[in-house]
């Protein structure tokens, strides 16, 4: 059993960050949560100096990616992830306010593993996050 890898939460909105962390906590996940506040930070954490863990393996167990990000947009981050043969193996769940088909389609085309709309009602949101954690972190199996 290897060490539990952290989750990368890419979220520029403070409120959403707090709510999301709260939801994750409610879901009783053991993973650490690393937060990137914009696309550039996210890329640094994936490919650059901010990258956690030993080199060679996967730095994160799951990426929760918002689309509307300052500096580098979520879709561009997604694109960058896809270009890397190793990093692309990390499941990416797009979490966004958008309900546009274009965004869904582009996300999937760029290799997103899930697309989750952030609902206004926290209860609902919390439930979704719990489901995601359950699936991607516990049920799903990943290479090291």
């Amino acid at each position: 059993m290897t060490a539990i890898k952290p989750i990368l939460l890419v979220e520029d909105n403070d409120d959403d960050e707090v709510l999301c962390l709260r939801a994750l906590k409610t879901a009783n996940l053991k993973n650490d949560i690393v937060i990137a506040r914009d696309g550039a930070e996210a890329i640094d954490m994936l490919f650059g100096a901010g990258r956690p863990g030993p080199p060679g393996g996967l730095p994160f167990a799951l990426i929760l990616l918002d689309l509307g990000l300052p500096k580098i947009s979520g879709l561009d981050v997604l694109k960058r992830i896809q270009e890397d043969d190793v990093i692309r193996r990390i499941p990416v769940v797009v979490m966004t306010s958008s309900n546009l088909d274009e965004d869904k389609i582009t996300s999937y085309d760029l290799g997103a593993n899930s697309f989750v709309r952030k609902p206004v009602a926290f209860g609902e949101f919390s439930e979704k996050v719990a489901h995601l954690g359950l699936y991607w972190l516990l049920i799903n199996e990943m290479p090291d």
């Binding site: 409120d15 306010s97 926290f122």
Partner: protein, 800 residues
């Protein structure tokens, strides 16, 4: 009267007389009546001649047979008549010889006192009585010339004599009675037997030894009267004229045969040539042998007793002969009746007869034909006049007189014709009227056209439309006066040809325009292009240039002609519109994305507050916080709905067969899963398929069924029906519920966004659903209508 000249040759009477006569004749022989009659007469003639020819061939020989047979019958009949005449005289002479006066005379003569011993009648009285009887006989038989009772005694003195003289019956008495004791016939008769009747030869009558003229052939019949002792007392004689009977024999001959009566000596008593008869009485004999030296004697020909010999052919003669005996006691005394024909005559006669029959038949046929022709002509007269009238009407003369006729069909025709003339007249009037109207319309049209031209000129000037012509071969361009202002150039600076024009065009557009002009000039395309022109004085301009094809009679392109419009401002507007649209899209995106984030925060932290500070917050505070959380959720819904509404206008419509029943079922399932506790009866008609856009159809059903679901929440069971009804031949979809319904007074507000007809807080809604439905249906080209009553549910009718 308006005349419509329909052209063609003049059918009226022309000035040329010859031509007129000729054409009249042609018209006559081509007339229906003439043709019908000709056909009729021709048919009769052909049939007649055909039958006659056939008959002639088949019947020529049998005609000969018939003729000969009829000759034989004639001869037999004539001979029998002659014999009957003789018998008649024999009977008369017998009757006369046995009349009571004869017996009386005998008795009175035998008595010495000259008085009949039986009834005391004297001799003279008996003679007188016999005289009366003689007179009666002379009266009744026109052939009888003289009746006598001649006594043997007193040298053959005539006892009683009556005769016809000059047509009067006279009796001879006293001294006028002659003694005939020296006459041959008296002397010959002295040895007559009681049962014997003596017939004399037929000779010419002589008066006092001279032959009477005109010739009067006579025959004498004589019978003896015997006394009671058996001695010959005297003779009864009848002198009869043979002229009538001989004439009858002659008349019995046919046209081709000749009758001869020849006595035993071969002398002619009857001959076609009267001069050759009774030659022996007149001093020069004419005999059978002389006339027919190559034929047997008459007596030889007529061998047989009283029976006509069958016809005999001798040489080219046909002969029918009959021997008529004059005396029974003397077999030698006889006359011979001979009818003679020549074969050639018979044949000629037969031919003539057939010809005559044919001729007569033909004449009858012609006469009949003529009659028919005349009748047909009369019959056709109304028809002819009708056809003349028709020709006249054809020439536009509607005032012609139409014939009256009693022939039913023609009357019908004439009636129909009159109706037609009336119709034509009416139509003529209508035509004239409409012609006048058309003329007036034309005039108005022309005026309008002029006005329109002026207006067009003004309009092109006002709107800024330039006119241009391109000569396809040379490429030369003609511009109108307005063109320089469109191009923003001086008139002199306008390009004179296509190449010149291309230089003014923005380099990015140039190749495209060049290709299009090329296609228009050489490939028969219409020209239409929007391009930019670069000019020194007025900056960039967009021009929309079009040119249509002008062709000659053979379809060859002679000119490209069209308009050039300055569309710079439209282009700019379109550009602005596009920018605005894009802004709107990003706004929608922003709404979707950015406006929801604060709502999430509100809701999320409100939740966190009640969650984490449940111990320190009282119920009122918790209530407030719940309201904040709910409001945030509602606003989220509102934003989603608005987004959906705006998206309706942007979405592209693709039609396909859509199973509405299935979609409705899915929607209802979704609704049910959202509120599993509700008691709702949903009835969905199966197989409701329409051709429409599936996305739009889902939006419509989602909203309508969702409304029905929502507004029937107070009912248990709630009832929702989705089905289809027929209205005026069209099928209309229907969603019905038994919910709270709405007041129809506000029906016009139903489809406006944010309009809610319910203040009931228990029922949540943004007021956008029906606006979305209305917009979706509008995009699909459908219609929607609602029907409701407060508290009685609502029904939405719609088409997709």
């Amino acid at each position: 009267m308006a005349r419509t000249d329909i052209g063609g040759p003049d059918t009226g009477p022309g000035p040329g007389v010859t031509r007129s006569v000729l054409s009249h004749f042609r018209a006559r022989i081509s007339s229906l009546g003439f043709r019908a009659a000709s056909a009729f007469v021709g048919a009769i003639l052909i049939v007649t001649l055909g039958v006659a020819a056939l008959e002639f061939r088949n019947q020529r020989d049998s005609y000969l047979e018939d003729v000969l047979e009829s000759e034989r019958l004639r001869a037999e009949s004539a001979g029998r008549d002659f014999e009957r005449w003789l018998d008649h005289m024999r009977r008369d002479v017998t009757i006369l010889s046995e009349t009571p006066p004869i017996a009386g005379i005998l008795r009175a003569s035998a008595s010495p006192d000259g008085v009949d011993s039986r009834d005391q009648t004297d001799l003279e009285t008996w003679k007188l009585r016999l005289q009366h009887i003689f007179t009666a006989f002379l009266k009744t038989d026109p052939d009888y010339a003289q009746l006598r009772f001649i006594g043997v005694a007193d040298d053959g003195l005539e006892l009683v004599r009556a005769e016809v003289r000059d047509g009067l019956i006279v009796t001879v008495e006293g001294e006028d009675l002659q003694q005939k004791g020296r006459r041959d016939y008296f002397l010959d008769g002295l040895d007559i037997r009681p049962d014997e009747i003596d017939l004399s030869k037929i000779t010419l009558n002589r008066e006092h030894g001279v032959v009477e003229t005109p010739l009067n052939p006579m025959l004498r019949v004589m019978k003896g009267v015997f006394a009671s002792d058996g001695s010959l007392f005297g003779f009864i004689t009848i002198n009869a004229r043979a002229e009538r009977i001989i004439g009858a024999l002659r008349a019995a001959a046919s046209s081709s045969s000749r009758a001869y009566l020849v006595n035993d000596d071969g002398d002619f008593l009857l001959h076609p040539d009267p001069a050759k008869t009774f030659g022996f009485d007149l001093g020069q004999r004419f005999t059978w042998r002389q006339d027919f030296p190559d034929l047997p004697d008459a007596a030889t020909l007529s061998v047989g007793d009283g029976v006509a010999r069958d016809r005999q052919e001798v040489g080219d003669h046909y002969l029918t002969a009959r021997r008529i005996p004059l005396s029974r006691s003397d077999p030698g005394a006889a006359v011979h009746l001979i009818y003679e024909m020549r074969q050639a005559d018979v044949r000629a006669w037969g031919t003539a007869r057939i010809s005559r029959v044919t001729l007569v038949t033909s004449l009858i046929a012609i006469a009949l034909g003529t009659l028919v022709m005349v009748y047909l002509k009369r019959l056709m007269r109304p028809l002819k006049r009708l056809s003349e009238s028709a020709a006249a009407i054809g020439n536009g003369d509607l005032d012609v007189l139409l014939p009256d006729t009693r022939v039913q069909e023609l009357a019908t025709l004439v009636a129909a014709f009159r109706q037609m003339v009336a119709d034509i007249r009416a139509r003529d009037l209508a035509l004239e009227k409409s012609n006048a109207e058309i003329r007036q319309l034309n005039e108005e049209l022309r005026e309008r056209l002029e006005a329109s031209d002026q207006r067009a000129a003004l309009a092109t000037e006002a709107v800024g439309i330039a006119l241009w012509d391109v000569e396809p071969q040379s490429g030369r361009i003609q511009w109108d006066d307005l063109s320089p202002s469109i191009f923003g150039l001086a008139a002199a600076g306008m390009p004179g040809d296509v190449d010149g024009l291309l230089e003014f065009i923005h380099p990015d557009d140039r190749a495209n325009v060049a290709a299009l002009i090329e296609a228009a000039r050489y490939e028969g395309q219409e020209f239409a292009a929007v391009f930019r022109i670069v000019q020194s004085d007025a900056g960039l301009r967009y021009l929309d240039a079009r040119a249509g094809r002008v062709t000659d009679g053979q379809g060859k392109l002679t000119l490209l002609r069209g308009v050039v419009i300055d569309v710079t401002s439209e282009r700019q507007t379109a550009l602005e519109y596009r920018v605005l649209n894009e802004e709107l899209s990003s706004f929608a995106y922003a709404v979707s994305h950015d406006l929801r984030a604060p709502l999430r925060s509100m809701n999320g932290f409100a939740e966190a507050l009640t969650d984490e500070y449940a111990d320190t917050l009282d119920d009122v505070a918790k209530g407030y916080i719940t309201r904040i959380a709910n409001a945030a959720v509602r606003m989220g819904v509102l934003i989603d709905d608005i987004l959906a509404l705006t998206r309706i206008s942007k979405t592209e419509i693709t039609r396909q067969t859509v199973d509405l029943s299935r979609i409705a079922a899915e929607v209802v399932d979704e609704l049910r899963s959202g509120e599993p506790g509700r008691n709702v009866t949903v009835e969905i008609m199966s197989d409701l398929t329409v051709i429409t856009d599936p996305g739009m159809a889902r939006i419509v059903l989602w909203n309508l069924l969702g409304n029905a679901w929502k507004y029937s929440s107070e009912e248990s069971p709630a009832e929702i029906v989705f089905d289809r009804v027929m209205h005026q031949g069209r099928s209309i979809l229907r969603v019905r519920d038994n919910g709270i319904g709405f007041d129809m007074a506000y029906a016009d507000k139903l489809y406006r966004p944010f309009q809610r007809l319910h203040s009931d807080q228990r029922i949540q809604g943004t007021g956008i659903g029906l606006a979305t439905v209305s917009r979706a249906i509008g995009r699909l080209g459908g219609r929607i209508a609602a029907e409701s009553e407060v508290g009685r549910g609502a029904t939405f009718y719609f088409t997709l």
